[in-house]
């Protein structure tokens, strides 16, 4: 905070000019006025985004809604090792493992549910994943539904969903 070399705040003595108030009011408004003038003449530089008509651009590293990666044949890459659900601080990943008919895969998730309402988007699941099977790179940050149970998304949804966020 700039103090102009003077003591301000409670109990500080005010001089005559300060006691007149009018000058001080405009000095206080100076910041506002400066921005007002600049925004009028340089409207393009304004940081305000006209959401939802205009969507903000986030960094590529932004953690959006999860997705499950597919193998070449479209089956999940996930091997149901439970690393993500173990690492999850919100306890929002629920996996049921099963025997895969292909012995080279051996284990796969029969069920893979994420409770998006519990998720805190910390990204520990994708960091824990040894198979790069779960990613949060969809960039989807608007997660909207009209009932709570729709936020409980299953394996098929996480594998194939192309929607932009509305569940």
């Amino acid at each position: 905070m700039r103090t102009n070399g003077k003591q301000h705040g409670y109990g500080a003595e005010m001089n005559f000019r300060e006691r007149l108030y009018v000058g001080e009011v405009f000095r206080g408004l100076w910041i506002t006025i400066k921005h007002l003038v600049r925004n009028i003449f340089y409207m393009k530089d304004m940081p305000t985004v006209q959401y939802p008509e205009v969507k903000p651009q986030y960094s590529d590293r932004f953690r959006g809604r999860h997705r499950l990666m597919q193998r070449d044949d479209g089956s999940p890459r996930c091997v149901a090792c439970m690393m993500c659900s173990t690492a999850c601080p919100a306890d929002c990943i629920h996996i049921t493992a099963a025997e895969h008919p292909d012995p080279t895969i051996e284990k796969f998730p029969e069920k893979f549910d994420i409770d998006l309402l519990r998720c805190v988007y910390c990204g520990l699941c994708e960091e824990a994943c040894p198979c790069d099977a779960i990613r949060m790179d969809t960039g989807i940050y608007e997660i909207v539904a009209d009932s709570r149970d729709k936020f409980f998304v299953n394996k098929e949804f996480l594998l194939n969903d192309e929607t932009n966020g509305t569940l």
């Binding site: 091997v79 090792c81 439970m82 173990t86 012995p103 051996e106 284990k107 040894p130």
Partner: protein
């Protein structure tokens, strides 16, 4: 006694002690190892427990060396450490490192020892590994993954020396060597799941537990196996009120480090579909769920003399309470034919009930089926059956109770519960605390592991409540008080304090009680 120096510490051991055990005592932790197992003969194949002994030109494996006077041993110097690290690297050359899909992950010897001795930079390309058969079903309970195997031969030695069945062996040589099943055989002995326990890696895994749960999510409770009269000490692994597996717990006086497959899979009964979870009252031909008030008013109205039948699956405290509840009525157990099966010389008893000994201690007569039916016929109106399934097992008993009021206290739906006018759901073995007395008269604690289903009651509380309604005596407020009462009433206990029984149980000086050992 021999005196030797381990890592600068001078210690004394009895002659014949293995250097491995001596080092464990000196270090406070075991040397790295795969093949050494205290209950199996020494194989000396994993080469991980090498230590430096002064005067010896090369490192020596501790497990196959006995202590000698004046030995100077180093277990923590750089040479020993390096040897363990290099040996571990050799073990890992062809290991698939498929920990994410391996059930052993979290309790794996390779993982644990790699954390301490690992080289971290593998010198082997992933593509160079020798691949072997994975996920082979080698028996009703066991799956073999030869790629993960470190060839410690523990399982082979177990089948050769403990069960004597010799199903397993090491086949081929060099990096193609693998554990396998002898031609035409199957790993189907009743102790096969112990090979899964002793396997230090994920080569042998349980079919029952396969992919059910990651081991680090499980909580353990120490209790006693209800499968037979041996009363093996066990550890129940459970999560969120569901039991996932049972593992044996070391008790040299009862079961050592082993337990049988039959007992290990007993937990499935706890979560069976047929569990009773609400009180039922007969309503015409059908049974309908009732409130506890309705049940109590029905039970209060019973009155009269009758027959009280208790099963050997109940705990010592419950049997004692039930006997007290019977009061002037005849309290018996039966049919004595139930809960019998084939035994073996290792652990499994012919008596497949956990607590038959207590019946003898409490002076409750065990009757054969016919005799039990005769007693039921002679009973005055009321027959109370606590546990077991006499109606299903003895047709004559079913006929005898047909016109009478049958009250069933039990855990599962069966012929007896179907025939009963009043059904009270009680707790299964893993849902209550109590004492089982094994065939040798050892008192052992069973512990509550999971929650009871629905409205099932804790047995002793229900019995105490019922007794409180029939007489004016104050009922015990808790298990400790109840146990003090039991200790006074049962002569065979010789004044043993039932509240001081520890995790490994307590043997009672055997008095002649006429029980079948």
């Amino acid at each position: 006694m021999v005196k030797l120096t381990i890592d600068g510490q001078e210690l004394e051991f009895t002659e014949g002690t293995s250097l491995f055990d001596a080092c464990r005592e000196a270090r406070g932790e075991a040397l790295p190892h795969f093949c050494y197992h205290p209950d199996l003969p020494i194989a000396g194949v994993c080469r991980l427990c090498q230590v430096e002994i002064e005067g010896m030109p090369k490192l020596t494996i501790a497990c196959n060396t006995t202590v000698r006077d004046g030995m100077v041993v180093f277990t923590r110097n750089e040479r020993v450490r390096k040897a363990a690290q290099q040996t571990l690297e050799m073990h890992l050359i062809n290991h698939p490192v498929d920990c994410p899909i391996c059930d052993q992950a979290g309790e794996c010897g390779l993982q644990n020892q790699y954390m301490e001795y690992g080289l971290y930079e593998s010198e082997v390309e992933k593509g160079d590994k020798v691949t072997k058969a994975k996920a082979q079903v080698i028996g009703p309970h066991v799956i073999l993954d030869t790629e993960r195997c470190v060839l410690c031969t523990r399982c082979v030695r177990f089948c050769d020396h403990v069960t004597g069945t010799g199903e397993l062996g090491i086949f081929n040589r060099g990096d193609r060597a693998e554990v396998g099943i002898a031609p035409g055989k199957e790993l189907n002995n009743n102790y096969s799941l112990n090979t899964v326990d002793i396997c230090p890696v994920g080569a042998l895994t349980s079919r029952d537990f396969r992919f059910k749960k990651r081991v680090w999510l499980l909580k353990s409770t120490q209790t006693i196996c209800p499968g037979c009269a041996t009363g093996c000490n066990i550890r129940v692994d459970h999560e969120a009120d569901r039991i996932f597996r049972i593992k044996p717990r070391l008790n040299a006086d009862v079961n050592g480090r082993w337990m049988c497959d039959f007992g290990r899979l007993e937990y499935r009964r706890v979560h069976a579909e047929s569990r009773l979870d609400a009180p039922l009252l007969a309503d015409g031909d059908r049974q309908r769920e009732a409130s506890w008030d309705q049940v109590w008013s029905r039970l209060d109205a019973l009155g009269g003399k009758g027959l009280f039948v208790v099963s050997p699956w109940q705990t010592l405290e419950e049997m004692d309470l039930f006997k007290g509840l019977g009061g002037g009525n005849t309290v018996v157990s039966g049919p004595s034919e139930s809960g019998r099966g084939d035994g073996d010389e290792i652990l499994l008893s012919t008596d497949r009930t956990p607590n038959r000994k207590s019946l003898a201690w409490l002076g409750i007569d065990e009757l054969a089926g016919d005799e039990l039916a005769a007693r039921a016929r002679a009973a005055d109106g009321v027959v109370v059956v606590y546990g077991g399934d006499p109606v299903g097992e003895v047709p004559a008993f079913a006929e005898a109770v047909a016109g009478k009021t049958l009250v069933y206290l039990g855990t599962h739906r069966n012929a007896t519960s179907d025939a009963a006018q009043v059904v009270v759901p009680t707790s299964a073995w893993a849902e209550r605390d109590g004492i089982f007395v094994n065939a040798k008269g050892r008192l052992q604690l069973i512990r509550r592991v999971v929650a009871r289903p629905g409205e099932a009651r804790e047995d002793w509380r229900f019995l105490a409540d019922w007794q409180g309604r029939t007489d004016d005596q104050t009922q015990p407020a808790g298990l400790p008080e109840l146990r003090r009462g039991v200790a006074e009433r049962v002569a065979a206990l010789n004044g043993q304090d039932l509240n001081t029984i520890g995790a490994s149980g307590s043997a009672v000086a055997e008095a002649d009680t006429g029980g079948d050992a």
